[in-house]
Amino acid sequence: MNVRWDSVVVNSRFWAEPPSPAAARPPSCKEGTEQISVKVWLFGGLASSLDERPVEVKVLERFSVSDVIAELGRRYGDEFLDRVVGPDGRKFKHCRVFVDGFPADNVDAQVHTGSSPALVEMILVTAIEGG
């Protein structure tokens, strides 16, 4: 009795993060300083002011989602960024991003390596409330 609860479960690795698909890919042999072209599909409300889809942006070949968002922000301005990131610059949880078909939850992680073309998809999911 009267055990400090936090002494009960020390050093549990049960919830350690599993390797993500992106991290499991082999790293590029290059240093990642060259620019590549990325096709970005914006869907739903993010696409409402676009003339055509997909749009192409240039990023470093070993890019993160943050790099893509920053480039889109330069192109489409604050109105776009206000819908995608908060005042702290962090991507909203309701903005879902997929890179080459896989969810990219960590915006700062390197999500694509090598010079092969990358496909980025972004959509704002909507509030689902109640019940």
């Binding site: 609860w5 206000d82 309701h94 999911v125 909507t126 019940g131």
Partner: protein
Amino acid sequence: MNDMSANTALKSEQGKDDAWVPSSCAICYGNCSIVGHRVDGVLVKIEGNPESVIGKGRLCGKGVSGIMTTYDPNRLTVPLRRTNPKKGLDEDPGWKEISWDEALDEIASHLRRIHKEDPRKLVMHRTTTITSSRTPMGSFAAAFGTPHISAAGGGLHCGNGAHQLSGMMHSSWSVVPDFEYCNYSIFFGASKGHAAGHASCSNMGLAADARTRGMRMVVVDPMCNFAAAKATEWVPLRVGTDGALALALCNVMVNELGIFDGPYLQAKTNAPYLIGPDKRYVRDAASGKPMVWDTRANAARPYTDAVAADMALEGEFEPSGVHCKPGFALLREHLKKCTPEWAEGISTVPAANIRRIAGEFAREAKIGSTIVVDGVTLPYRPVAAIAFRGSQGHINSMYNLFAIDLLNQLVGAADVVGSCLGFNPACHGFPETGRLRYVPHPDADGLMIAGMWMSYHYPYPIPEPKVPRRIGLQDLYTLGMISPFDHCDEGEALWKKFEFPYRPEVLLNFGCNVVMSIANKETVARSLAKYKFIVSIDILLNETSVFCDIILPDASYLQQTDSRPNFPFMFNLPAGMGEWCWPIRQPVLPLEGKQRRFQDVLIELADRVGICADYNAAYNAQMRLEPPYRLEGDTKYAFDEICDRELKNNFGAERGLEWFKKHGVIKWPKKPEEVYWRAFVDVRVPVYWEFMTPLLEKTVAIAEPRGVKIHREFFEPLPDFLPCPSHTCKKEGFDFFAFYYRDTIHANSFTTENPWLDEASQLDPLSYAIAINEDSARKRGLSEGQQVWLENEGGRKVKGRLRLTQAIHPEGLGVGGCAGHWASKGMPIAKGKGVFFNDLLELDAAHSSPVNLNLDLCAKVKVTPVGGVQ
């Protein structure tokens, strides 16, 4: 994993159709697993599916009666178009049958127009009854580009306080006692475990077993009905005063008895964070992290740099010249004013009882104890305080729920063995694929972000207020989820003040009867009349149908396919140890007439509007579909194909829709580290709501220059009792607090049309009546069965018959469910039965919380005999 393939072989030796088909109920949002017995094409019986964890073979009265809803001769079977352009509560739409092509063309033309002009002109409503409709409906909204999707009345009444609090403190949509191990539970206006709510039938069995085992159940409720009637103790209180009672219980525990779980508060809450005179954290200048007082170092340090056991919970400090105290010290001081005597004056619960219950709860928590579950040693706190619709249905819902959950937090009874549990806040994933994995994680301040949530509006961190662009103003009132401003008369004035560049024009409604489900019918009717075009997908005509331009005939849940009737797990899978379980919904019966499944109708509309690629992308996002199961390009998929892809995506290529149709469900065992995750995950929850101070400042900066007053008392970091408008009513003769309660044989408003449930309600002395305390009635000369008017302060009236009972607080008037239908077509059985309580509810800012938009659901009323003075 179970195998129902023998049962689902649809043909007997004689070639006769005789099948038990595993599927999922959708008479209420519990969505329990069922098997439908079909003989020669006719559904003859519905039972609970014993192979599934969701219901565990049990099924409530609503569930077994689903046959009668499906076979209701008033079911819609063809698309209808109104011929009378005039809309109003008493207008006959003059329905005319039209073809599906005509209907879809007309709907698509309106949608194409507003999609081009401004997609935000589309508003979508969905019923809470079919829980999983959130995916097709939400995906359509995302694809179209509108933020306006609402669960209307069902959501507005239950969600803004309860779900927010459960999410912030337990990373789950709702909470429940750990029935298997809990020894002492307090239910504040909650009927979980009593045939209603999340994981309804599962909890029914778990609660019954717990009571048999000896779990003490104290039910705080103005009425002794479904939960209190089975309780160890019923604590009647004045309507809407749960928060005051909970605060007094907390005060007795920490200040009179000195019982609290210090180590838990140190390690799992922000109780040790230092708070400055500005009500904010004292932050480390270099890292920006909240500081704690490290008693070992005798210095203030970032919370990440001190050992939990060394963090001070009490005392006054002056790091860098800033006078500050730990959050717990402020909470303890704050609670001192909340004496049992103070709470008795508000709630009418005797102070002696408050002290006794607080002592029982605190001592039964067994602070410091551990237990071994499945070979894992875990903290053991066998007490739980839970709350739901009853205590949250008030203007002060946020503080009511905060105060109630503090009972759990103070004794460390949060997501450990025997305690208050969220419904499955952490899942390690399906073992074979690793899919469906989620777990809460900390933000930069160490506070918990839910591992999964059902809306983009996560319960924490609190979003930054903005100049609003959602018609419900949830982007200004960022603790709000569903908004009364969607339908109230003040909406237009508010939209003008905030210079909205658009107005709502088209309403796409799925199964909601908003004229009845939100508040008084006149106010909602005025809001509907402003829409240029309304289309509704439904199974019956109802009171809202008269405002629609087109009605589309939907399939019943027994004619539907759905790959995720019970996902996310934090909504409907029972909490506690046992198994993870994923059932599907599949058709037990074919469609009739020209009925179509709503999911396929939405796909067809997306195609006609030209947003198929966006709809596919939205489904990919909502279901997290990965290659090779992602929906590609602008391909138009059938909904069955989408379901098949989701199932294979989660459970492997061999387990698609056909596999699930044969097997019904898939199950795998839960682990103690998943169920009792709190001990294993390094997150804290806020017992001092520091975020309220900046939230107030930012909200005021946007609202008040535009003439919208913000009430400061709702934005304090520590909870208080703030009265409902009904508590401040002093008008002569208005001496009862009217409220409605969820009748467990009904769900939302449509089940009153079900003849079996109607018969049960007529046999139940309370279902269709107004419950009044017998002594209170006799003092006023009121008698059993007497027909009376209930009139609110604003002159709104409803009529009903009195039922005299000792099982209600002397000041309370209890009305069952959402009854009293009046529609002349579509629901003949329901018409004229019961009392339409919501007609007593005002729908305006004065009756809505300025912090989370919660609508106040009680009304101070005068009781007058029909036909004059008694």
